[in-house]
Symmetry: C2
Subunit: 482 residues, 2 copies
């Protein structure tokens, strides 16, 4: 059992806090191979909830799931010049199988554009075959040197959507549509406000013409890229010959997109909501939405009987309302110890029922955000809990939005930028020169997170770094990032 | 689009029929690496339905999902002697990653007992930590030389449950419990009757003391092992040191189990139900349960409008009843062509609505099993369809059960056995000698599929092959198998 005490405070050591909380809250464990983590049941249940909700949104926007093989011939990566440059250094390579050396080494997919491009070239012959709107849920592998649970791991779980369209307009619409799906999911299910924007040339996906991103603010003021959607133009279609007879019987290349969302988002939820007591789970994704603690003195069998009967009734009522409820009836652990443990695990609501509560016909309800306790009549608890969960979601989103508002700054000069990126997100005008971006990153560790789709205009301003005209219609956001 | 005509008949060429139908019904496509197939949306939707129902059964029996890393140090396989012998020849091995040669090669999991054993040894310290009841859904890789879609592929999708218990009794109960879950799933959702039994010494899982299996009969009389559940005794616990302090404060080894069910079952559904027209999907798992075909003459816009309005109403009513409905409103394809295509894809029910139907206020309902058409008042269709789907499930299960009953034989002599295994399953007495099993297999290509948990007693009979006493309390089942 994880020890709940002794978590470092976020202010003192945010990184230490993160590392402690992921293990102590039983989300992950170390695997035997460096950089690959076991996702334990409490962490995996969160991922299952993410998958279920996001998958429903994909299907509602017309997508179907399928599954492509994991091993990709190494030669496929050579076909798109930017793509191979971006991914080749991170590949894990199978050279032997079935006791023999393979004729051609096979890479474990770091992402599947290449193998999917190969198949789409078979599936697309006519404009009637378009669009292809497919997605897969799978594992991928990128051999990273510095790894951290959920944030950067050699193997991770994700979904990757891959679509092919007859023209640029439809593909760009799809790219934007899926960004909106990610943003809506992050906010409506994760209670995490995000900024939607476009990546600069230097930060685009390897092989893409446009990369859209949602960026969330963590509670140390840093950014976490939480989902990306890419427009590839004809790059992959040309590399893999995804071409078709168009309406006018002319040969044309398809325009493709891809979009991905991964277990990284679990890291975003942890760092975007957690506090010094541990995790705070957004109710709509929480593996356990309400924990019920029966309270009675050891050896008082009579009180135990009455308490457990009331707890069983409440549990059944909550289950009937599709509330994810857990009764913590472990013996030999003090209620105080249990409180601390469920706080650490970030369960939104806690209900205690003891003999004194029963005398008054109530249960004691507390929430993980305010910690305030209120007595609720037993007969009302099962209807009160779903309403409290919704209120908790709204309060959590509000808290994150207010926190972010306090940490968004505007820099007019490079000196201001350098100072303010230590604190949070900074709007500033930038010329768009990748060399300047690189120089700023080397000096400040901050990068351009995105050119926000909505945000202050850059009109009449000049680059804080070079003094040249703005490279974009809007100011960009600089921040340190995970 | 696959051409529905020209499927070989099952009687002429069952193997050719299978290979044609999986591609033409759009379940799979060939990938670029030999032995790895793309599971296309129609096939993957079937897998999603299998996953959803089976996962609910796992959770109802107290299991939680988690996720272990895919890459396993090669040395782990050495620790259990039988296990390495069984799996080493099929491993795919990563030797290079991140541009460097690895210090120790890593195998892509062929199954995860070893890496899970390593972690369970950390997680289990006291009897209070037991049982561990975990499952994972993932991809695995076994480098097979002869591959066929779904039946034998280098990469496949499955679930693997892994549990640890304080004693043999509990582990054996779990092994049996999960066999019952698989059998219930195969029959209640797949409409496929199965025989539950135990594997002989020669057919057990590498490292297990007991392997239980469900065996289904395909429509060529061959067997397909559709799910297995293994009791490992202390083998893996000793190899990976999964030990604990028991109630009496004595050190003891855990008893472990594992159980798996894979995309192979899709092969079982195809070959267990299909006919010369193509697939027949069991309704409770069918990606599309009912297809609605609007019928009207090209250019008759008035008729089209009325038909499409009625179709839209029916569709909405069916969706409201959670029926998986597809409206085939493709233009430029004749109704006859559409019929044949949906027959090939095995959709259980078809509703046609045309101007003549509308005049009589009906839709024409047909089912994939009998092909019989009946006129159903439009207002009754939405309630009739769910009842027809249930009746279809019952009829399909009945059909498969009757087919199997006709193909189960009893052999008293080896000559009879050799003749009858060409036709189906054969009950016979066997001495249990692995050498005799091997000799029978070499001569007849048939193996002992299982010692059925229920079945004729072997009392007073002798081995059909060696004349020695029976090795088991019951007669075994011989059959050729996939």
């Amino acid at each position: 059992m994880a020890k709940p005490q002794g978590l470092p405070s976020q202010a003192d050591d945010f990184s230490g806090w993160y590392n402690d909380v992921v293990y102590r809250a039983d989300l992950v464990d170390l695997g035997p191979v460096r950089g690959a983590f076991v996702i334990k049941p409490y962490g995996y249940a969160l991922w299952e909830n993410i998958q279920r909700e996001l998958d429903a949104m994909f299907k509602a926007t017309g997508h179907e799931n399928l599954y492509f093989p994991m091993l990709i011939p190494m030669s496929f990566f050579q076909r798109e010049a930017d793509h191979v440059e971006g991914f080749a250094p991170e590949l894990a390579v199978v050279t032997h199988a079935g006791g023999k050396e393979l004729e051609e080494p096979l890479a474990i997919r770091p992402t599947s554009e290449t193998i999917i491009g190969e198949l789409y070239s078979k599936w697309v012959q006519s404009y009637r075959d378009l669009p292809l709107l497919y997605n897969q849920w799978c594992n991928v592998m990128r051999w990273e040197l510095r790894t951290r649970p959920f944030l950067r791991t050699t193997e991770f779980l994700w979904q990757e959507g891959h679509t092919a369209h007859a023209n640029a307009r439809e593909a760009l619409d799809e790219t934007r549509r899926m960004l909106e799906v990610y943003a809506e999911f992050a906010e409506e299910f994760g209670a995490l406000p995000v900024i939607k924007g476009e990546k600069t040339d230097g930060e685009r996906f390897a092989g893409a013409l446009q990369t859209l991103t949602i960026e969330a603010m963590m509670r140390d003021g840093k950014a976490l890229q939480s989902g990306t959607s890419h427009y590839m133009g004809e790059n992959f279609a040309r590399a893999f010959n995804i071409s078709f007879n168009d309406v006018d019987n002319q040969q044309a290349y398809a325009h493709t997109t891809s979009w991905g969302f991964s277990t990284r988002f679990i890291g975003a939820l942890i760092m975007g909501h957690g506090d010094d007591k541990g995790l705070i789970m957004p109710p709509r994704l929480a593996p356990v939405q309400v924990v019920v603690l029966p309270i009675y003195r050891a050896n008082d069998e009579e009180a135990k009987g009455r308490v457990m009967a009331a707890v069983a009734t409440l549990r059944a009522e909550l289950v009937a309302k599709d509330v994810r409820v857990k009764v913590d009836d472990r013996e030999g652990l003090s209620p105080g110890r249990k409180f601390v443990e469920w706080e650490l695990k970030g369960v939104p609501l806690r209900v205690e029922i003891g003999p004194k509560d029963l005398e008054q016909g109530v249960g004691t309800l507390a929430d993980r955000l305010s910690g305030e306790k209120r007595a609720v009549p037993l007969g009302e608890l099962a209807t009160r809990v779903p309403a409290e969960l919704e209120a908790f979601h709204a309060a959590l989103f509000e808290r994150a939005t207010a926190f972010r508002a306090q940490r968004i700054y505007h820099a007019e000069t490079y000196a201001e930028l350098k100072e303010l990126v230590e604190l949070g997100f900074v709007y500033a005008t930038h010329c768009g020169d990748p060399e300047s971006e690189k120089a700023i990153q080397e000096e400040t560790k901050a990068t351009v997170r995105c050119i926000p789709l909505d945000g202050p205009s850059a009109e009449g301003t000049v680059c804080v770094h070079t003094g040249r005209p703005s490279g974009y219609a809007r100011k960009v956001i600089f921040a340190k990032a995970y």
